[in-house]
């Protein structure tokens, strides 16, 4: 921090600056490594991530990034919704793909078939507080929903044999929302912070049961239609990693690590000034 000039006489024998401290050689790789480690820990990372090549990135996170950067022309999904009700105070958004799923029969639903999916959220750092989350399920265009409206029931479950899962939300699936030409539509279910805190403090795993049934009839759809007609919860035979990563269920958490500003600057509830409703559409 010196702007030139010899300062030795003012030290009066107090702290003599060591010559090396005056002009550290920044070419020293060890020093560069130390600086980098300090910066990474400042970024909340223990070490520099070393991802395997070609990790597929969910479109939703990329669109969220471009939208945040006000690069609206780069947002690809025309049905993209800016999750303003989730992102209020968060400065970190994490995405999780589901571990696996199990088709099974349960007496609880009168011998119907439902799907169990679970997410491992143990990688969320302890010093990060989850403020909100959403479960995103992709509906498929391949098959019509069949005659009449259908209902999607979402249950929270400790494990897939849980006899009494908790109904979190029930939602009528209609065809009307699919008027625009896209290859599908995401159903987003808001999840409370408490639910995430409990799972994170416990097993670190969050499990859901999904059931789709015709609205005017008590029997659930037979197994083979549940997977293809409604929700993309299982990979098609021969489907590649990238396209599957764009369709599979996605858990998104919104949290704050106690360091720094939220992603949406206060007073800018409406980043970019786009005139859209709370769950508005991105104008192309």
């Amino acid at each position: 921090g010196r702007q030139g000039g010899d300062t030795s006489e003012i030290d009066h024998g107090r702290v003599h600056p060591t010559p090396s401290a005056l002009s550290p050689s920044l070419r020293d790789p060890g020093l560069a490594q130390t600086i980098q480690s300090l910066l990474l820990s400042r970024l909340g990372l223990q070490s520099q991530p070393d991802p395997r090549p070609g990790v597929p990135v969910p479109r939703y996170l990329v669109d969220l990034y471009h939208f945040h950067q006000q690069q609206y022309h780069l947002v690809e999904d025309p049905s993209f919704n800016f999750p303003s009700q989730h992102i209020q105070e968060a400065n970190t958004i994490r995405s999780f793909h589901h571990n696996d799923f199990i088709f099974f029969k349960l007496s609880f639903f009168k011998k119907t078939t439902i799907v169990h999916i679970s997410f491992n959220i143990s990688s969320i750092p302890q010093d990060e507080s989850v403020l909100s989350a959403e479960l995103r399920l992709r509906r498929s265009d391949e098959a019509a929903l069949g005659p009449g409206p259908h209902r999607l029931n979402l249950y929270l479950t400790e494990h897939h044999e849980d006899p009494e899962p908790t109904l979190l939300e029930t939602r009528l699936l209609t065809n009307g929302l699919r008027s625009y030409k896209t290859s599908g539509f995401w159903e987003a279910f808001s999840l409370s912070a408490e639910l995430l805190h409990k799972a994170h403090a416990g097993t670190g795993s969050l499990g859901f049961l999904l059931e789709v049934r015709p609205e005017n009839n008590t029997t659930s759809l037979p197994e083979q239609t549940l997977s293809s007609a409604h929700l993309r919860v299982c990979r098609s035979v021969g489907q590649d990693d990238h396209s599957w990563a764009q369709e599979r269920p996605l858990l998104v958490t919104y949290s704050h690590d106690g360091r720094g500003q939220a992603l949406v600057k206060h007073g800018r509830r409406n980043p970019g000034g786009i005139n859209w409703s709370e769950r508005g559409r991105v104008k192309r």
Binding site: T7, G44, L64, Y65, T92, I93
Partner: protein, 116 residues
């Protein structure tokens, strides 16, 4: 290199101000885990804090006193040209479990420089 350090010397003789600095994540080997952006404008502060410190130098009172003393006693260093306001950037990256994270990182861009 010689040319560059001569240029930085010339720059530092000028008054304290913000200078452009683009950080390319490819240069520091971070492109493997940072999905976006590929780099960003970080800027840096460089320049002299000479007497008298003009108002726009965004100086603290202590810096003015230190600069005053420096003008009568060269053994006391001048105030330093440092960032006085910083802003965050959002990074989209892969964490060590290959999960995608979008995070706001604090104090990554120099918005203003001043004498302190």
């Amino acid at each position: 290199n010689g040319g560059r350090s001569a240029k930085l010397k010339r720059l530092s003789r000028n008054r304290c101000r913000r200078h452009p600095l683009y950080v390319d994540f490819n240069d520091v080997g971070w492109e493997k885990w940072i999905i976006a952006p590929s780099g960003y404008d970080a800027f840096f502060c460089l320049g002299e804090c000479r007497f008298p410190l003009a108002d726009h130098m965004n100086s603290s009172s202590h810096a003015m006193v230190q600069t005053l003393v420096n003008s009568v006693n060269g053994a006391v260093p001048r105030a330093c040209c440092v960032p006085t306001s910083l802003s965050p950037i959002a990074l989209l990256y892969l964490d060590s479990q290959d999960r995608v994270v979008l995070k706001n990182y604090q104090d990554m861009v120099v918005e203003g420089c001043g004498c302190r």
